[in-house]
Symmetry: C2
Subunit: 221 residues, 2 copies
Amino acid sequence: MPGAVPSASGGLPDKRRAISQAARRVFGREGYARASLDVIAAEANVAKRTIYNHYAGKEQLFLSVAIEGADAVTEAVRVLMERHLRKIVDLEEDLIAFCLDRAKAVTEFPDHFALVRTIHAEVTRLPDAVLERWTAHGPPSAHKRLAPYLQKIADRGLLEFDDAEKAANRLNTLTTNDVLIRSFYGAVPLPEPVVEETITEGVQAFLRLYAPPSAAPHQQN
Amino acid sequence: MPGAVPSASGGLPDKRRAISQAARRVFGREGYARASLDVIAAEANVAKRTIYNHYAGKEQLFLSVAIEGADAVTEAVRVLMERHLRKIVDLEEDLIAFCLDRAKAVTEFPDHFALVRTIHAEVTRLPDAVLERWTAHGPPSAHKRLAPYLQKIADRGLLEFDDAEKAANRLNTLTTNDVLIRSFYGAVPLPEPVVEETITEGVQAFLRLYAPPSAAPHQQN
DNA sequence: CACGGGATGCACTGGTGAGTGCAATTGTTG
DNA sequence: CAACAATTGCACTCACCAGTGCATCCCGTG
C-alpha cells in the first residue's frame, strides 16, 4: 500500500515523512486546536497509533513540523539569494527579481504560510526554546541572512549604508512584509499585478534610500 | 453581586458589556477553538446561559467581539491622527509622535492584538461578509484613513507624491508594520528603545522619500 | 404588593478528540 | 523459514465543550 519506493533510500523512514507532510497540511488548514490526530493519520494513510510511534504527542508533532517548515523556507530563501544576488548585473532588476520570487513563495507554499499564521496565533503558548528556534531559523531571520549579500553589493559601491542589517530589514519591510501583511500572510492572495507593482515600487524606494548618488534614480511612484 | 452602577445609564445593558469584554480577553488569550464559553462566562461573572440570551452562539460572539474591537482601534487611530496631524508644527516631530503613539497602542491593548492574531489564524474560515467588514473597519483600513491627512500636508508643500494612499501605506509599512511584524503583533513586545529607534528611522526614511528637496533631510541611519 | 423579564444554577445530551493497550499482521533481515 | 520490529485496526478511557431545558430567583415597574 505504501507509495512505491521502499524505505531503503536515505532520509526519513517513509512513514514519518508522510506523517509530517500530512501534519503540516492539516495544522495549516485547521489550526492547532482544531486539527485532530485522526484526520492527520487518515491523510497520511497511516494508523493513528503509528503517529505515536514517531512523536510523543500532538504538541511534539506540531513543534517538529513547525521547525522543519521554518528550516525549509530558510533554505529556499538562501537559494533565491544565491541565484539573484551573488552576481549583480543590474541592481534594480536583480533586487526586483529576488523579491518577487520571495513574495511568490508565499502563494506557492500555502501549507507553510498557513502554518505561519497558526504559529503567530500560538506564539504566546509556545515554549521559549521553540520560539527561539523559530526566530533563529524561521522567517524572522531572513534579513540577517540577507545582510551579507547587501554588504557585498555595498562594497562594490552600488549601495551605501552604515548598517547592513538595518538595510536588509528595510528592504524586507518595503517589499515582502508589505505583501505579507496586505495578503493576510497569503490567506487572501493579492492579485499578481498588485504584487508586482508593490515589489517594484518597494525596491525603487529602497534604491532611492540607499543607492549612492551616481546613476540617476528612477521616477517616483 | 453585579458591579455597582445599575444598568440605568446608556450603552449596553451591563451584562452584555461584561460578556463582550471577557470574550475579547479569553478569545485573545486562548484562540477561537480553545476558548470555552464556560470560561468566558466565569470571567464575566455571568451564567453561561446568559451568554445565549445575548448572542446566538460561540461563533456569533466571536465575530461580534472582533468587529467591535476593529471599530475601537479604528476610532483610537482616528483620535491620534486628529491630535498629531491636524496642525503640523514640525513635520518630522509630528509624524514621529503620531507613529510612536500608534505603535504603543500595540503594547497597551494586548487583548485586542491577541485577538488580531487569532483572526489571522481564522481568516480562511471567516465568512466573507465578516472578512469584508474586517478589512473595511479594522487595521487594514488604517492607511486609507491616513491618506487625507497626508494629502493636506502635501497641499501645504511639505510633502510630495502622486498617490496619497500609496504614501500612507508606505509610512505605515516603514513604521507600524515593521514594529508589528518584529514583535509578533505584540505577542513578544520589543523593548521600548528599539520601538523608538525603529519609528524614528522609519519616519526619517519616509521623509527622505517624500519630502520636497527644500529643507535638508536628516542624516542616514 | 403583585407581576414579569432577565439572570442564575444545574443537570443533561451529544459529540469530539487525545492518548493507550493489545492482538493480529506485514515486511525485513539473517 | 525464523526472528524481530514496525505497522495496523480497534476498542476503550477520560476529559472537555457547545448548546439546551427548567425550575428558581432577583430586580425594577406599575
